[in-house]
């Protein structure tokens, strides 16, 4: 949280005049608790909204009964306390942008559904004829965040002829089981088409 910089001490009152100059470090020291509370509140809101959607049409305050509101708040605060550190660790806060949600929906009903339909027809062809040429290939789409890698890995698993086997955490290499190997050293475009560009728009 605190970056090593020209200022040696972490305590702001030991710093004297330098505290005014090292604005970055000062900001990170003072803003860390605020940021943590904001993360907790965002997680709580997310969990509580899911609970409210699940228990709609149960009573008279709006759509919900009083017991559901109180119980849902208690359960949501417990779940948020348990999980808010995991959720926002590596660039997860980028997913809070509503524009990304719109792009995600467009991605889901556009190229993704098309590729899934093609994938199923492909599997149908291979089930009937039994013609396969499998292998495990490696490529690097150049994604950095966890959310982007997860999204691309799941997309690859559900699209024509490919199944994600392993993802290297440091370099971001994808190891993919390909049911019909056309090239031994493929580019990302050969394996998964336009998906990396969409994933960069949606999640990075």
């Amino acid at each position: 949280m605190v970056r090593p910089g020209p200022c040696q001490s972490n305590l702001p009152w030991n710093r004297g005049l330098w505290g005014l100059i090292c604005l970055d470090e000062l900001k990170s020291v003072y803003w860390a608790p605020v940021r943590r509370v904001a993360e907790l509140a965002a997680t709580f809101a997310l969990v509580f909204v899911v609970y409210l959607i699940l228990t709609a049409f149960s009573g008279e305050i709006g759509l919900w009964s009083r017991e559901e509101l109180i119980g849902g708040a208690v359960v949501s605060i417990l779940v948020a306390l348990a999980s808010f550190r995991l959720l926002w660790e590596r660039g997860g806060w980028r997913l809070l942008n509503p524009l990304r949600w719109v792009m995600f929906l467009v991605y889901l009903v556009g190229p993704f559904l098309l590729a899934m339909a093609k994938a199923n027809l492909d599997v149908a062809y291979r089930v009937i004829t039994g013609r396969i040429n499998p292998g495990i290939v490696r490529f690097n789409p150049g994604l950095k965040t966890d959310a982007g890698r997860t999204l691309l890995a799941n997309s690859i698993t559900l699209t024509p002829g490919t199944l994600t086997l392993d993802v290297d955490d440091e370099t971001g290499d994808f190891y993919v089981h390909w049911i019909n190997v056309r090239q031994v050293d493929p580019k990302p475009e050969d394996v998964c088409g336009v998906f990396p560009h969409w994933v960069k728009v949606v999640a990075e």
Partner: protein, 112 residues
């Protein structure tokens, strides 16, 4: 509305059956995972979409909560199904099961 529901049910039944048959037609774990994951996810999506159409046509509080639950089940399936199959494939490879007649095996060359 009813026609749409029948079409969705038929598509779902056909692709789920394809996934079940793929379990018996393919020779090894990885290719079976291909067939099972893709086809059953696609088929289940269409089966659940049929329920969404049915609930929307029915309307009222029962129909709306039916739609909500069906959409949540759809989201859970889309999130968990590829992740689970990826975990199974990686575990099978680490347990030392070789891919059937593989042309190339880059993961083996890395030596994990």
């Amino acid at each position: 509305m009813n026609i749409l529901m029948y079409v969705f049910l038929a598509v779902g039944a056909v692709f789920n059956g394809l996934g079940a048959v793929a379990l018996h037609r393919f020779p090894d774990v990885y290719t079976r995972l291909h067939g099972a994951t893709k086809c059953t996810t696609f088929g289940s999506i269409f089966s659940i979409l049929a329920v969404v159409v049915y609930g929307a046509a029915r309307g009222g509080s029962v129909g709306t909560s039916m739609v909500i639950r069906a959409v949540l089940a759809l989201v859970f399936l889309l999130l968990t199904n590829p992740t689970g199959s990826h975990a199974l494939a990686r575990a099978a490879h680490r347990a030392g099961i070789k891919p059937f007649r593989a042309v190339v095996d880059r993961l083996e060359e890395v030596g994990k």
